[in-house]
C-alpha cells in the first residue's frame, strides 16, 4: 500500500521569502501525486498534480512541485510567498483506480 509523509508539520516564513514544503511517498508501483491547499473553514483545493511526463509541475497561485522518482519525493515550492498563502497544505498519492491517500498536512504561516 502507498503512504505519504509530510516532513514538516509547521513552516513559518516571512512574506516574499521562498518556501519549500517537503513530501515523501512510498509505493511499490507507479503512483500519481497531488498537492491540495485548505484555507480555514473550507474544503480542499487542488494546487497541482503529477500524472506523467515532465517532472516539474506548475500549479495555481505560483506554486510548483518536482517529482523525484529516485528519492520518492514531491516537494512543493514557491519563490515568493504572500500573506494570503497562509493555509494547510496536503500532499496526496494515488495508484490508478484506488483512493487518494493524504499526508498529515503542513501548516504554512506567512508573516510580514
Amino acid at each position: 500500500a502507498q503512504s505519504v509523509t509530510q516532513l514538516d508539520s509547521q513552516v513559518p516564513v516571512f512574506e516574499e521569502a521562498p518556501v519549500e514544503l517537503r513530501c515523501n511517498y512510498s509505493s511499490s508501483v507507479s503512483v500519481y501525486l497531488f498537492w491540495y491547499v485548505q484555507y480555514p473553514n473550507q474544503g480542499l483545493q487542488l494546487l497541482l498534480k503529477y500524472l506523467s511526463g515532465s517532472t516539474l509541475v506548475k500549479g495555481i497561485n505560483g506554486f510548483e512541485a518536482e517529482f523525484n522518482k529516485s528519492q520518492t519525493s514531491f516537494h512543493l515550492r514557491k519563490p515568493s510567498v504572500h500573506i494570503s498563502d497562509t493555509a494547510e497544505y496536503f500532499c496526496a498519492v494515488m495508484r490508478a483506480g484506488t483512493a487518494l491517500i493524504f499526508g498529515k498536512g503542513t501548516t504554512l504561516s506567512v508573516s510580514s
Binding site: 480542499l44 487542488l46 491517500i101 498529515k104
Partner: protein, 114 residues
Amino acid sequence: DAGVTQSPTHLIKTRGQQVTLRCSPKSGHDTVSWYQQALGQGPQFIFQYYEEEERQRGNFPDRFSGHQFPNYSSELNVNALLLGDSALYLCASSRTGVTNSPLHFGNGTRLTVT
C-alpha cells in the same frame, strides 16, 4: 457552475445517536468519495460510490454507511455515534472515464459529538 455542495455545514449530536450528511457532486461528475478529517490530521478515506454502489472502502467500521442516488448525490450515515467521530466530513466528486480525474472537494460538514 456549482461545485460540490454539502449540508449541513455544522451539526451537533449526542453519543449513540445517528447522523446523515448530504453531498451534491459538481456538475458532470458521477463519482462521490467521502473523507473524515480529524482535527490536525489529513483526510482519511471512508468510501467511494459510483453507479449507486460502494466501489471502494477505507478502514472504517460498518457504523459508517452510504448511499448514492440516481442523480449522483450521496449520503453518509453514521450510527451509534462515538466521541471520536467528531470531525470534518468532506465529500469529493470526480468523473469516471477521465484518466485520474482530480477530486473536487466540498467545504465539509463539521460534526461534533458530545
